[in-house]
């Protein structure tokens, strides 16, 4: 199998929120890296996972399929999955594949974090 050209950095904002900063390509070969990063980010207390796509260089349809699988995993754990840093093109792909109906999209990490805090305050 070809090597995955992806680096995912996990950053815990606090015990309830983690950020996965994605750099490189999301294709079928990124599955191990993405799921390992999710495992690292997702301990018992994690409620929200933010995917930061600022450094995303390439994504094909298998990559979008991986995001669907990740979304289902987070839903099973009663976690919320959010996305930020998507450029215009990838926002359009989220709409095309109707992923935007289940993953809220924000311009940047600050906006995503603000939305999480807002939800926490109102619940």
């Amino acid at each position: 199998m070809p090597e995955a050209d992806i680096t995912i950095t996990v950053h815990d904002v606090n015990s309830a929120v983690s950020i996965l900063a994605i750099e490189g390509e999301i294709t079928a070969f990124a599955e191990d890296a993405l799921m390992a990063a999710y495992q690292e980010a997702s301990d018992g207390a994690t409620q929200s996972i933010i995917l930061n796509f600022d450094e995303l260089e390439y994504m094909n349809s298998s990559g979008i399929g991986l995001l669907v699988t990740l979304l289902i995993r987070t839903q099973r754990q009663n976690q919320t999955l959010l996305a930020c840093g998507l450029n215009e093109h990838y926002q359009r792909i989220f709409q095309l594949t109707r992923l935007n109906e289940a993953i809220a999209i924000y311009p940047d990490e600050a906006a995503a974090l603000a939305a999480i805090n807002q939800t926490a305050r109102t619940s």
Binding site: A28, N60, S61, S62, G65, I72, R92, L96, A102
Partner: protein, 248 residues
């Protein structure tokens, strides 16, 4: 996109966004039903359990590259289907955004539907289903090099679109579908003079039923195709009378 934000490398491979599907030039021999005006639906919009099924054939002895395999697969896609599953690509072929009409015969009767080419590059292409199709999701056809051997793969990520389809899949549809994709990979391999077995790995990604999507049944292409066929004698009679009433 501008100089500071050049178009991503994958930009040309994706379909343009469409609110509803439309068919410009349907092949004459195809029954064009249940596609026009429908929205595409992904793995999140359907009703049934979400399954990921991966079929693979290792093309031992095949000297073609993955890109060459995909080129042949796109060009001869309808030919690799079993005879009861007729695919009608547009004149443009397997290109992003194009619609492929499907006229199939299933154990539950005929079904006319279609798929949209969601993504297409040199190493893979993906078909996404519309409302009313038995499944809600997509299927990706790809080829890659695994240690010097080309592997051809079909991977579906989809759930039944409505409760009727979910029941049908559980009874017989799932095994029928698996037979279809095994047939397609077998035909592809045979086109390259390869006779290796097709493997299948399947996992239930989401066992929950999405009851909020039960209303999808109103688009059910199988039931609408049945109704269309039941109406054939009336359409024939109407055409006959219309001809007789024409002034000479």
């Amino acid at each position: 996109m501008d100089d500071r934000h050049p178009a991503p490398r994958d930009a040309a491979y994706w379909a343009q966004s469409v609110d509803k599907l439309s068919i410009k030039d349907a092949p004459q021999e195809a029954l064009n039903l249940n596609v026009e005006g429908r929205q595409t639906v992904g793995p999140l919009q359907g009703f049934g359990q979400l399954w990921q099924k991966t079929y693979r054939v290792r093309m031992m002895g095949c000297e073609s590259t993955p890109q060459e395999v995909i080129a042949v697969w796109k060009e001869r896609f309808p030919e690799f289907q079993p005879p009861e599953n007729r695919f009608f690509p547009s004149v443009a072929g397997v290109q992003p955004g194009e619609v492929v009409l499907i006229n199939a015969m299933t154990p539950g009767g005929p079904v006319s539907t279609g798929v949209m080419v969601l993504y297409s590059d040199d190493e893979s292409f993906t078909l996404m289903t519309p409302e009313g199709h038995p499944e809600s999701g997509w299927v990706t056809f790809s080829a890659y090099d695994d240690g010097g051997v080309v592997v051809a793969q079909v991977q579906s990520l989809a759930r039944a679109n409505d409760p009727v389809y979910e029941l049908a899949f559980r009874l017989v549809g799932s095994s029928v579908q698996e037979k279809i994709w095994r047939h397609v990979l077998g035909s592809l391999a045979a086109a390259f003079d390869v006779g290796e077995p097709v493997s299948l790995d399947k996992q239930c990604v989401d066992a929950r039923l999405q009851w909020s999507r039960a209303g999808n049944v109103r688009h059910n292409a199988q039931m609408l195709t049945l109704l269309y066929n039941l109406g054939a004698p009336f359409r024939w009679a109407r055409r006959l009378f219309a001809k007789k009433e024409q002034p000479t």
